[in-house]
Structure formats: C-alpha cells, structure tokens
Symmetry: C2
Amino acid sequence: MPHALEGDIREKFRRSGYTLTSQRRAVLEALGEAKGHPSAEDIYLIVKKKNPRVALGTVYQALSVLEEIGVIGSKHWSESPTRYDLNVEPHLDIRCVRCGEVSEIPSVEFGELEERIRDNTTYEVTRAMLVLEGLCPVCRRESTLSP
Amino acid sequence: MPHALEGDIREKFRRSGYTLTSQRRAVLEALGEAKGHPSAEDIYLIVKKKNPRVALGTVYQALSVLEEIGVIGSKHWSESPTRYDLNVEPHLDIRCVRCGEVSEIPSVEFGELEERIRDNTTYEVTRAMLVLEGLCPVCRRESTLSP
DNA sequence: CTCGGCATCAGGAACGGTTACTGATCGGAG
DNA sequence: CTCCGATCAGTAACCGTTCCTGATGCCGAG
C-alpha cells in the first residue's frame, strides 16, 4: 500500500522543490499506521519509536510541508489539537465530544451549498469546512448510564 | 436597542440560576458596541475602558456563562481566537485569512444537508458548523497588487 | 441592621498546542 | 571531495485560555 503512493508523493515533492527526507517519510508512514485521525503529538510518538531523536518541532514542520504540497489534509476542532489525515479528498469528519475519536462520514457532499455561499458573499471563498461534533455510539451509551 | 433585549436576557438569567452582574452586563454591552465579531480580548479592552479593574479571566468566565444560557454565540477558526456574537440564530460567517475580519453571509441555509449527515453516521450529531475562510474584497484587491 | 454563606471577581500563575530560534547536520551540485 | 543551502534537534518563547487563591460583593435569616 505505501508503495502505491510513493510515485505520486515523490512527484509532488519534486514539483514543490522540497526534499523527501527520512523524517518526512517517517511522518507519512506514521500517518498510515495510526488508524483514524492522529494529532501531531500522536504522530510524534509513533515516529519516535523508530527514531528517538526526532523533535516534535520537526514533526510539525514536516506536517506543514506535507499539507502544503497536498499529500495530507488537516482538520481542526476547537478545544482539541489539529488532526491530520491521508485522505485529501473533500469529505466529512465528525469528532466525539466525549472521547475525542474522529470518524469519517461517507456519501455526503456539500452539493450546491458551496455555490449558494459564493453567490451570497463578497469574499473570495478559499476554504469551506463542515465541523461536526457529536457522541460516538460507545459514549452515547455510557453517557446515558453515567453522565 | 439594549433595552429591548433586557427582558429576554433577564429571563434567561433567572431561569439559569446565574446572576446578572455588572461585569456580565458590561460584557454584553461591549459585544453590542464592537461591530462584527469580537474576540475575548477585544471585549476585554472595551470593558476595561469603563471599568479598568476587570480581569481578562472575568471576561472569559462571563462569556462562557452567557453562551451557556444562550444569549450569545461563539465561533472558532483555527489559528485565531474564538469570536463571539449576539446573533444566536444559526447563520454562516466567513473569516478573511489575511486581515481576520469576520462577516456574516445572509440567505444561506444548511437545508437537507444536516439530515443527510444524520442518516450517514452512527454518531449523535450535537453540533454542525460550517467554517468558511476567504479573502475579503479589500484584501483580495491588495493581494493581487502586493502578495 | 448585622451577620454568615455563597457566588462572583481580580490578579496572576499555569497550561497545552504550536511556532520561532539557534547552532549542528545532512545531502546534492559542481 | 567540498561547499552551500535545506533541514533538523533541542529548547525557549508564544498566545489564547483555564485554573487557582484570596478578596469582595450580595442576599437572606435572624
């Protein structure tokens, strides 16, 4: 699986002028290992297992480069660190306000909403993101028993 | 204008058990004076003009009480402090990534989107918010001249 | 009116996520 | 191989926000 991506990623690195260093590769690999939507800290801990000398700052810098050249995406919920994602396609994610788990919502598109937004503002829209919060099935059950 | 709201607000305070103190009233008034969508710091500075002894922490605590009882709303964009708003109705706001100005987008509703989301997730959705970023007319013009 | 108790407040310290800085190290062009 | 710019490790600083502590105000009971 990682090999399938390699070519694409290498290409994006070449075009951007950034170099695909071992640290940046390690961050990408960690992002693949961590299921779901890890935070910078999560990624840092995974990367550190293989190379204990990496610094948290390096992970942040790698993530920002990776996002800039479009090989990863990020989402931010208030009151919680930014989450990163190998899925670069536009899609919806919802975060459990109780346990923090982030999960993807399939088969829902913005549709004409974005168009209607562009028609009703003088701003040039550069980013539209639906921030969803809720209770995951586990937490919903638990919170009805013990709030 | 403030007087029209008073009754409603007093009512919400009474029902909640919180007291409508002078500091909380000052925060509300500041929120009315500041056009647009002020941050906690903005509000703090306005309140401080009339009462230099207020603490920033008090403003934060007042804002959280006011939000809890539903007389104000808040929105958060990453990389920028939370903005507060007297408009409690669901509505869209867009933030300029260059100058930070937040402005309201009229006449756009979520529509059936929220329904479709609920149908496609096992989560119980508690909050759905569209986070919009863009360039305001002024910044768009300036950024084409001097990026 | 006075007292006691509880919510609230001022002031400032602490926190968590992120960024900025600095000197060391790497890696590719020549 | 050597040199130079990009990258990195390590650490300090930053910023928005929360937490903590003792003081202050407010309200009801007596």
